[in-house]
């Protein structure tokens, strides 16, 4: 009997990687999934934060895909290593701060290392030529294969027939004739194939697999880097970019104001790392101060916060300021008028 070959499939949670893995499974190959967590992934997170999202059924799409396919899934934390990809992408950014091409190269490189450590034979991705303007083009396909070091061990089952033969095809581990030649932005062939396999409840991410493709998120991240004078971030920073209204009140600090109760509760968890403000005389949101503040800055922050509270038309509003050691004091301020909020503050 011939030896059963083993492949690892990059699983994002979307339809294409689901289909790619399935197509190879159909050919008798043992497939396991690998999912990389950069910190910016759309998965999880926001579910836990906003109250209105809490009611929706939560699921991690990569785990769901693995379960549909009856395969193991390895989730790999690449938060730290990913920073270098995001800070200095050799191939630049996409429409926003998404370094898609470098990101893909990095993930395939990690998968290549993984197959070497775990005795697997080749790598599968759900890439389709022309599907994404930055990373999935005819000319980027060989770049990913080459720069990741995976070379001919990288198989893209959904468009393999438009690409040169890879080792799994040459060696007969998979039959090229049963692979596909999808191309372009159309989703029709994928949807037809999904139907054939009986998948109907798959996730359909709008932009891409992560927050970096989101314009507003990218603006906030760029602002963070500008304010710090360098490209850097910690996990807490990138989590907080997902919640609240962010107002850059001066180059030295910004104010993050919760938009609803769920965000407020989530932000409470950060009160020992950031100075926080809340209105006490009137109901209102809570706010965190990110940066270094003077007394004058705090006055400004309190007036802005009061503007977003139920006391916005009151003559004065009491705002409690809490430092990171839980010492509190109270400021009595006049809420800002609607025209005093400078539009440029809002990120």
């Amino acid at each position: 009997m011939t030896q059963q070959r083993k492949a690892v499939a990059l699983i994002s949670g979307g339809l294409d990687s689901l289909l790619a893995a399935r197509v190879v499974q159909e050919q008798g190959v043992h497939v396991e999934g690998i999912n990389f967590y950069t910190g910016f992934c759309v998965e999880g997170h926001t579910h836990a934060i906003r109250k209105k999202d809490r009611a929706k059924p939560k699921r991690n799409n990569a785990l769901w895909v693995a379960e549909q396919l009856g395969m193991k899934l390895h989730i790999v934390d690449i938060i730290e290593e990913y920073k270098q990809v995001l800070f200095n992408p050799k191939h630049g950014y996409g429409a926003n701060l998404n370094p898609c091409l470098d990101c893909k190269i990095f993930m395939v490189k990690k998968a290549h290392e993984w197959i070497q450590e775990n005795g697997f034979d080749f790598i599968i991705t759900g890439e389709v030529i022309g599907q994404r303007p930055m990373s999935q083009r005819k000319d980027t396909m060989p770049v990913i294969a080459r720069d990741s070091g995976a070379t001919n061990l990288l198989l893209r089952p959904l468009c393999a027939r438009n690409l040169p033969e890879t080792l799994p095809e040459q060696e007969g581990w998979v039959d090229r004739e049963q692979l596909f030649d999808f191309s372009g932005r159309t989703r029709k062939p994928q949807m037809a194939l999904a139907e054939k396999f009986g998948f109907d409840d798959y996730a359909q991410p709008a932009g891409g697999c992560c927050f970096l493709t989101d314009a507003q998120y990218s603006v906030k991240l760029a602002d963070l880097w500008r304010a710090r004078g360098e490209k850097s971030y910690e996990m807490d920073d990138i989590m907080l970019l997902k919640v609240g209204r962010h107002l850059r009140l001066s180059p030295d600090f910004k104010l993050i104001i919760s938009r609803e109760e769920g965000e407020g509760n989530f932000m409470q968890g950060y009160r020992n790392q950031y100075v926080s403000l809340k209105t006490t005389s009137h109901p209102g949101p809570m706010a965190l101060v990110d940066g270094v503040v003077s007394e004058q800055d705090l006055q400004l922050a309190a007036r802005v916060l009061a503007r977003y509270s139920k006391g916005k038309t009151a003559e004065s509003v009491e705002v409690e300021i809490r430092d990171m050691d839980a010492n509190t004091r109270c400021l009595k301020v006049a809420p800002m008028g609607p025209l005093e909020i400078i539009p440029e503050w809002i990120l």
Partner: protein, 76 residues
């Protein structure tokens, strides 16, 4: 038998899953692992991950603002 506990408080999914996964690989089949989480998503994600990877979910429960999942490590 002793039970390992991993503290996943304040972590957002999928970090609790990653933490459980990285601990489970170091444990012997049959040993028990308890994850204490604050992201309710963990109540779905850790069991899903366990089913896929051949571990048995012994218990899931909510204690106030904490969500606890106990698994028995499988032999894969």
């Amino acid at each position: 038998m002793s039970r390992m506990v991993v503290d996943c408080r304040r972590m957002l999914c999928p970090m609790p899953v990653i933490k459980v996964q990285n601990q489970a690989v170091k444990m012997a089949p049959g040993e028990e692992l308890e994850a204490v989480c604050t992201d309710p998503g963990a109540l779905n994600d850790i069991p899903a991950w366990s089913r896929i990877n051949g571990h048995e979910v012994l218990e899931t429960r909510t204690e106030g603002a904490e969500y606890i999942v106990v698994i028995r490590v499988g032999d894969s």
